[in-house]
Symmetry: C2
Subunit: 455 residues, 2 copies
């Protein structure tokens, strides 16, 4: 019995909902071994999201490929009293043998579009549900939020500061990954830099300034203590006086021919825009045009857009809390639903939760200027024209290709977002009527016919 892939697990195969195991046992007893098709999709977009970015596939595939039940996990299940020996023996030899089709990470998608499809014996497909949602929901959530920050920043640098208020450690790690994927320039989270090579960025905290009896001494010590160029935090006591201290320090360093210099100052509280203008004036008047200004402190994409739109001289933004938990929309209505079993379409009819049956594909049509014109959700096998978004990424339980470096995914994402029509790049809430933007997502006649006939 092998261990799960160490990077893909928080707590192994038991990080799932109890009913997945109970249902698996029922299928096992009933000898239901036919192929099922499950699809992962988002029912509705939050009002402040005009598109979502698919993210988390890499980790999801690691999870699927590595899913095993260890002896101690099976002992725990046996001790529950509701699992029978033959089923536990089946689990002891479990490995996923099916296929996975998915949109690539960084691909924009919309409500009701499948971003991942699992085709496998029903027990195997069912056992993936809870963790697949758990993994992909979170990275998709943060990447989609980060994409809005990237739009708002209009080319200025964006750094992820979200670790401390992300929901536990792995959320901090994968939020850093998702934000970088969506176009952020770096993260303050050291472990994320180590794991994925995301550029690390950090400044200094108020406590450092406070621990010194003199702010100017603190600046000097910090700037000359680290290698190279540093960013100083100037709002601990009086931002404008601190900016003057930075000017003096930078001149001294220059005069001494020091290898150290101040690269930027950071303002973290108060009226960021007004202070940034004043600080810029002080720095420029003091001959420190090369010193940049970074802003942070409860920023989200709307505040960034307001700062950028009003011409505030900000060169970089640190975005923390609002990014790491996607504060305005901390969850997506993401679901993983049975669409086919034993070759027959299946359809849930619960009020408000109607699903579209069948194994589906999404085709995106592009205009002559490479701008997306609309999506068409069709049954697998139909060819409506355009580009299909889901590709086979796993077959017979094995990945069909090597994983892509995060930087390549990021480039891929940037190219994808550039194809979105301008209406989708607005930060305002979607129009209330139907909650839809002008971007058309339609269904094929064959899919409509299947839905009409199913269930």
């Amino acid at each position: 019995m092998t261990q799960m892939h160490p990077t893909a697990t928080d707590s192994g195969a038991l990080l799932t909902d109890l009913y997945q195991l109970t249902m698996a046992q029922a299928y096992f007893r009933e000898d239901m071994r036919e192929t099922a098709v499950f699809e992962l999709f988002v029912r509705r977009l939050p009002p402040t999201r005009r598109f979502l970015l698919a993210a988390g596939l890499e980790r999801a595939l690691e999870f699927i490929e590595g899913l095993r039940f260890t002896a101690t996990e099976l002992e725990f299940l046996a001790a529950q009293g509701s699992f029978e020996r033959p089923f536990l023996e089946y689990l002891s030899g479990f490995r996923f043998t099916g296929a996975v089709h998915a949109m690539p990470e960084g691909c924009p998608f919309f409500a009701e579009e499948p971003l991942l499809r699992v085709t496998a014996p029903i027990i195997e497909a069912q056992l993936l549900e809870s963790r697949i949602i758990n993994i992909i929901h979170f990275q998709t959530l943060v990447a989609s939020k980060a994409a809005r920050c990237v739009i708002a920043a209009a080319g200025r640098r964006l750094i992820d500061f979200g670790m401390r208020r992300a929901h536990e450690g792995n959320a901090a790690l994968f939020a850093a990954r998702a934000a970088y994927l969506a176009g952020f320039d770096g993260t303050a989270t050291v472990a994320a830099g180590r794991r994925w090579g995301i550029p690390l960025s950090g400044t200094v905290a108020h406590s450092y300034v406070e621990a010194h009896d003199d702010e100017e001494q603190a600046f000097r010590n910090f700037a000359t203590g680290a290698a190279g160029r540093t960013t100083l935090l100037i709002d601990t006591y009086d931002t404008l006086r601190a900016a003057e201290k930075v000017v003096r320090l930078q001149r001294q360093l220059r005069e001494r021919g020091s290898s150290h210099s101040v690269e930027a100052v950071r303002i973290d509280s108060g009226d960021l825009g007004a202070q940034a203008r004043e600080v810029r004036r002080i720095l420029d008047a003091g001959g420190c045009q090369e010193v940049g200004i970074a802003l942070s402190g409860g920023l989200d994409e709307r505040q960034i857009a307001a700062v950028v739109g009003s011409g505030v001289p900000a060169d970089a933004f640190g975005v923390g809390t609002s990014l790491g938990v996607s504060a305005d929309a901390p969850t997506l209505d993401m679901a993983y639903k049975l669409q086919m079993y034993a070759g027959r379409p299946r359809r849930k009819r619960s009020p408000g939760k109607l699903t579209w049956p069948g194994a589906k594909q999404v085709w995106r049509e592009y205009g002559a200027d490479d701008i997306a014109l609309g999506d068409r959700i069709v049954l697998e096998g139909e060819h409506p024209g355009g580009t299909p978004l889901l590709a086979e990424v796993m077959r017979d339980g094995r990945r069909t290709g090597a994983s892509m470096p995060l930087r390549a995914i990021r480039d891929h994402c940037r190219r994808h977002v550039r194809t979105l029509p301008p209406d989708l790049l607005l930060l305002e809430e979607r129009p209330a009527a139907g909650g839809a933007t002008a971007y058309p997502v339609t269904r094929s006649a064959a899919l409509e016919a299947l839905a009409a006939g199913a269930g």
Copy 2:
């Protein structure tokens, strides 16, 4: 060089913000080795929280006690080019040697009250910041949300269903822990049951019903497949007809003298209250008074309170998404701030982020009926009367006592919440004026005087 405690790390000592290490190096170079006092507190409560529940201390102490830098972590830091050899050597021998005072888990607390205080050489205390907040913020967030659900449910069973949309795996795990601590009865997350002995609870998904050609057959198979008593999901197609099928099944099981029976039905969509009343009527008319009704599907504490308040016959609630991410308030404004260094009080003066200097204690006064009358924040050493809430939990880097079993913490929490005055147990937003409830939190004259003099 030892490894970190395996349960306390997502990615070891590098799961921190870069500036913590940069500042630590600056302190090291400047030979700043004096004792610092940092305190963890929440600046403001969200409008929908009248109190918070302290949670996460157990994991925080594991983290502090186990914090080490491994050789590969140090190699990564060395490769960054901004860390010098003597500092990395210092890190290679790092262990926390200080003291920690904290409120016990499950203790209600309010804005600006320290719930944890670290007293240690400044490098050691500084290096804890990012992860301490990351750990305690999340469990406090979820426990505080869960406490509202417990109030709303008024004694009915509450089960955590939040795994899939929690923010990655560890959030799912620790949300289950925090919810149980605050009074939930169980969780669907198997790994949380295994790790802390939290009672496991699970039903069945729509996909199981859909995978069968006949709903009644699906019910029969599921109820007789698992050991003992099961909960059936009845809203896949037509809730009331499904309830009738449950009645027939339960009678058949009874007539056959089967060891299996239906314990409850679950309704997961539509008008839960209206359906529950109809289903109750059908079950009772069919002689199935013993079959309970569980409700789920996007529930939060307000919907639970509405259901309970209008006399809907619900016996249990599954609470998922809104609990696991604390959806109405997905973050707390929690901070870890320097209050003393080298025996002198320190105070941050940034706009809107003023802190109270000094090492502090919180005393809670109780009336004759054991109801809390108010809290007083004082300097350590003052004795205003009442009960001090922070106790020493770590000394010289070692825990002063054994960790408490989760069930004991839960009992402790229940007793604590029972002491809160009725005003704090309301679910409505706090009064707008000052955002405060009638519960008084005051500061001692000595603390006010210290603040007036500091910085």
